[in-house]
Subunit: 265 residues, 2 copies
């Protein structure tokens, strides 16, 4: 394959909440010699700040209902505190990181979610066409390492809260046109369990048929379903390799030891 | 002069606090056809958030003593909420804005202020060598409009709170090597008053000798002294034009109507 290798690495709130573990992770992340993009969530810190400010939070199917005050909170926490601290820490270990929201350089434009039964407020949805891949590629060619927070914009002046797993997926899809992309969903489990009640039931590969079967049998953890949906969408849209793995195993994965659960079609 | 024209425009907290006025200002800012860089402060919103979170704030000679909790606040407010909202609003009026802290792309590295009589905490000082002008120029060549918040980093992993007037000054100085830079300090006064008690005493030009004289006679407003110091440093370091003007007069200035007070040597 002629395309250059590129990793899209997604990390979640569980890691971001632990300062020492995050620092360890970032040090390993910098050892990736190939081009790389980092995507982070950060849910718990946003909930903590909302609590301190007495702004009630409503979660629906794992998604945060985002009124104006909550949008301010997630913008401050995701695009401000978490994003800039990650960038500063990566700069300290000689990785020329650069932090973005989707508004910056119009890198990720989203559609505000239509009101149906639920009004999610300032929440945006993305697909692979949302990504300004030309500009992103110019940054990669400048040897920069983009770090994306889960805030996008509608290009009508509003910021929108967006699912970080979805952002990782659409970035991987859009970049696959010109790069050999490996999308790594890092989290606090070793991979996908065939049976949520059996910790040693991790599957090495997960096909869509198998996923549908496990889901119909209610064997999958509810929390992993949106992540898997994004993982399959990426794989269906030409992302070369998609893996869900433990964040502590990143280095093994980079060294081709095939950690976690690989998504297959 | 062969160099391309470039504006460095600084806006302060008084403007940022007024949503409608800020939107008006940003619309005028986008009419600048030349290359442009925006720098913003945002002090009052940070103090508001600190108040709501019961984190006491200490100001010394107009500078915020920045402990770890206060650093989190200014990072959230300056690099998160204010920066990303400005970028989203500029995107809405067809300006391809991109928001930065100094940590992003190592664009502005600062020195943590040494502890003398006072420990300012996480406060960083900058000079023209702090600016990664090569990378900044690449962004300008990509037709991007950089928007800088007043957060920098020490490249040792820490973010540092930095004076926004100083950031505007050092950006203007660093960019003057390759551009014909006009540095505009926009604020809520028409310019520098020869006598703070006489509103109609604005001076059209202010030389360093005149500044020293007015200062020794205690005729200048205390709040304008750090801004003037940064303005003179810029002018002394080859910035072609340095002006302090009313933020409502930006468009006149761009149309060469010579608003405000111009700094001369």
């Amino acid at each position: 394959m002629d395309k250059q290798k590129l990793y899209v690495v997604k990390i979640g709130g569980d890691l971001i909440d632990k300062e020492k573990d995050l620092a360890d992770f970032l040090e390993k992340f910098t050892t990736i010699k190939a081009m790389k993009v980092l995507v982070h969530g950060g849910g718990k810190l946003a909930s903590d700040l909302a609590g301190k400010l007495n702004i009630p939070q409503q979660m629906l199917e794992g998604r945060r209902v985002t009124d104006q005050e909550t949008l301010n909170i997630v913008t401050m926490v995701y695009a401000g505190k978490i994003n800039k601290n990650i960038v500063a820490k990566l700069q300290n270990v000689d990785c020329n990181a650069i932090g973005f929201s989707g508004a910056d350089g119009n890198l990720i434009k989203s559609e505000r979610r239509a009101v149906s039964n639920v009004d999610y407020g300032f929440v945006g949805d993305v697909d692979s066409k949302s990504v300004n891949v030309d500009l992103l590629q110019k940054f990669l060619e400048l040897k920069l390492t983009p770090v994306f927070s889960a805030i996008t914009h509608d290009q009508k002046g509003d910021l929108l809260n967006t699912n970080a797993d979805s952002i990782a997926s659409v970035l991987a899809q859009a970049l696959s046109e010109n790069y050999d992309v490996e999308l790594l969903y890092c989290f606090d489990k070793d991979g996908v369990l065939e049976d949520v009640d059996k910790p040693d039931s991790m599957v090495k590969t997960l096909s869509f048929a198998k996923y549908e079967q496990l889901r119909s049998e209610n064997k999958l953890h509810q929390g992993i379903l949106p992540k898997l949906k994004n993982a399959f969408t990426a794989k269906e849209n030409n992302v070369n390799k998609v893996v869900l793995l433990n964040e502590t195993k990143l280095q093994n994965q980079i060294n081709h030891q095939n950690e976690g659960t690989e998504i297959i079609l």
